[in-house]
């Protein structure tokens, strides 16, 4: 991703051995491959289904070999026909735009505010620093349903429910604890020597932050941003209760597509899911080195 984890392609693919408890040969590779494919199968099967026609998707017995078609993907972004009914706009072009726009904006905002705060917590500890950090983490650990009841009431009073501003504000606050904890864990790791040297040479605090600290945590910033994007991209309950018809995100729209038991167009749904998953899978690959820190909100580094 950046300078800190630059490795040759062979290393990235795991062809070259560089660490670990011990080494195992290709025999282990074969065994692990079988297990991994079984584990990955539910995702793989959905991706296959996305390329099937409606009849193939519902075939009994399930079809492993079929002639692939792109009709589902076309249908996502154009008008879809459900059997016997008139053409209906799936609306997913808008929902995908909403997901990207809301996630992108709120993550950028959270990154700007959160990085400053993380730097503050890391370098200028306040009285009760740990208490603040604990409260911040707790707001993230709370069940979404607990937080959403009062926010729902507040948004109704303020006229914010269903608007982009409301949803973006909420998601910025949702991403903030994660961003602060992540970035703090990165700032804590920097050695203070360079900063001290710069201060002695007369650099201002602002200069130390922008020219010395920030460039060193570039990889961390990228990882935090991407993680935040995934978290927001996947979020369901807040979106379900606080987005309107025009600001609906993909997860909500997807859940509504499944809602009716009869006449779910599984091929179409699989295509939507596939489009929804691809960015996540790509990002998982890119983030592999920061995955542990990311999923534990920066509380466990390695």
């Amino acid at each position: 991703m950046s300078a800190t984890d630059k490795k040759s392609l062979a290393e990235r693919l795991g062809l070259k051995v560089y660490s670990g408890v011990g080494n195992a040969g290709w025999g282990r590779t074969l065994f692990a491959a079988v297990i991994s494919f079984i584990y990955f199968f539910p995702v793989f099967w959905i991706i296959l289904t996305a390329f099937k026609t409606h009849n193939d998707a519902l075939a009994i017995p399930p079809k492993f070999i079929f002639s692939p078609t792109f009709e589902n993907f076309v249908a996502v972004f154009s008008r879809a026909y459900s059997a016997g009914a008139a053409a209906q706009d799936t609306g997913f072009a808008l929902y995908f735009f909403n997901s990207v726009f809301i996630a992108g904006t709120s993550v950028l905002l959270a990154l700007a505010i959160g990085t400053l705060a993380a730097f503050g917590f890391s370098r200028y500890p306040l009285r009760g620093n740990d208490t603040y950090l604990f409260i911040i983490l707790t707001t993230r650990m709370l069940p979404a349903i607990v937080v959403i009841i009062p926010i729902f009431l507040m948004f109704r009073v303020a006229g914010l429910s269903g608007t982009y501003i409301g949803v973006i504000l909420l998601y910025t606050a949702f991403n903030l604890p994660f961003t602060i904890w992540m970035m703090k864990s990165f700032f804590d790791e920097l050695s203070p020597d360079v900063e001290d040297a710069a201060r002695i040479d007369g650099s201002s605090d602002r200069r130390v932050f922008f020219k010395i600290c920030l460039p060193q945590v570039k990889a961390g910033l990228a990882a935090t941003a991407v993680f935040g994007l995934i978290l927001t991209w996947n979020e369901f309950l807040f979106a379900l209760l606080l987005t309107g018809v025009d600001t609906r995100t993909v997860p909500v729209a997807m859940a509504q597509t499944i809602g009716g038991d009869i006449g779910v167009r599984w091929g179409l749904l699989a295509a939507i899911e596939t489009l929804f998953l691809i960015p996540v899978i790509v990002v998982t690959f890119m983030l592999q080195n920061h995955l542990l820190r990311g999923v534990t909100f920066g509380t466990i580094k390695r």
């Binding site: 062809l15 040969g25 297990i35 991994s36 099967w45 200028y124 009062p150 369901f236 509380t299 466990i300």
Partner: protein, 342 residues
């Protein structure tokens, strides 16, 4: 002549708080809620501005942290305090009637309500099942990937992917696989019994379905943590063990396990907190059914607050959940700090 502001900036800033409270109290009583909300907002922003002006150039730490704290206060802490207040009043979000004071009525009601205890039992059942399955599968997967072998990183991605997926996507997957007529599970069972298999129809089946989906999704999380422990074991310990001809079993308990123990504890706590909030998967797979046999406490709170609109009752209920999660989070951070220090 010096102005008051220039001599005592901090006192002026502090004085602005009661002033802001007074103005917003007046606004709330006189103006309609949608206007008074913004008026009080503006007053508090001005008061915050005075503090910023005071801290500028004096308290860098406070200034850096302030925007984040302010946003979290507005979007999380203030609403929580509001709902805490509401839990002492009779209030329903879909009625116009003004709130009436109720005291501890709702806490009493919630704590003695057999329905709540039933939902807590359902939740506990799901938490125990799914977390223990995740721990076992995650640990086995970690053992598989502990050693270095060709293509390890690529295969690791395949296993790690489910954790990064959306609950909705996972719910949709398993809805498709559990579908009675053409779902893969039903078809596989039909090969043996000759009849379609409706998993989500029975209580045991619905629980199994949810636990399987959730454990599939989160076992990689446990694996990732355990893997971090396994990789941190110094190699020379194994070399010494092999020289001393120590059995595999003892090598595992005496060398490997101590390095993994703290991470297992963290994984257990983290997953328990998350599983306690189990909502999305249940909501998408069974909607709490059949009957209410898989209705977790989170789904129940959702129903009480957004379908029955018993706002005060759900606020009281939410505060009990909040307390539980705070205790668990505290425990988690205690263990995490302990590990980071060593």
């Amino acid at each position: 002549m010096m102005k008051v502001w220039e001599v005592y900036p901090l006192r002026v800033a502090f004085l602005s708080i009661p002033a802001a409270l007074l103005i917003s109290a007046v606004a709330i009583t006189l103006l309609p809620p949608s206007v008074s909300f913004w008026v009080s907002g503006a007053v508090f922003v001005f008061s915050a501005f005075l503090f910023v002006a005071y801290a500028w150039g004096r308290h860098a730490g406070g200034l850096l942290v302030a925007p984040a704290i302010a946003l979290l206060f507005i979007m999380n802490i203030f609403p929580l305090l509001w709902s805490f207040g509401l839990s002492f009043f009779h209030y329903r979000a879909n009625r116009l009637a003004p709130p009436r004071f109720a005291g501890l009525h709702y806490y009493e009601k919630v704590l003695t309500d057999p329905v709540v205890w039933d939902r807590l039992q359902v939740t506990a059942q799901l938490v125990v099942l799914t977390v223990s399955l995740q721990m076992i599968v995650g640990f086995l997967l970690a053992m598989l990937f502990a050693k270095q072998f060709p293509l390890r990183r690529v295969l690791l991605i395949l296993v790690l992917t489910p954790m990064m997926l959306s609950f909705v996507a996972v719910g949709a997957f398993f809805r498709y696989y559990y579908e009675p007529t053409f779902g893969l599970l039903s078809q596989a069972v039909r090969v043996f019994t000759g009849e379609p298999f409706v998993l989500l129809q029975s209580t045991a089946g619905a629980i199994a379905g949810i636990v399987f989906a959730d454990a599939w999704m989160w076992s990689p999380f446990v694996m990732l943590l355990v893997l971090a422990g396994l990789v941190s074991v110094p190699k020379y310990l194994y070399e010494a063990a092999s020289i001393d001809r120590i059995s595999h079993w003892r090598r595992f308990w005496n060398i490997t396990f101590p390095y993994v123990r703290s991470l297992l504890m963290l994984a257990l706590l983290f997953r328990t907190i998350e599983a306690f909030k189990l909502f999305d998967v249940v909501f998408l797979l069974t909607e709490g059914g059949p009957g209410t046999s898989t209705e977790t406490i989170a789904v129940y709170v959702y129903r009480v607050s957004f379908q029955y609109f018993k706002t005060s009752e759900s606020a009281a209920l939410a505060y009990i959940l909040l307390f539980t999660v705070i205790v668990l989070t505290n425990l988690y951070l205690y263990f995490a700090n302990q590990r980071n220090r060593t």
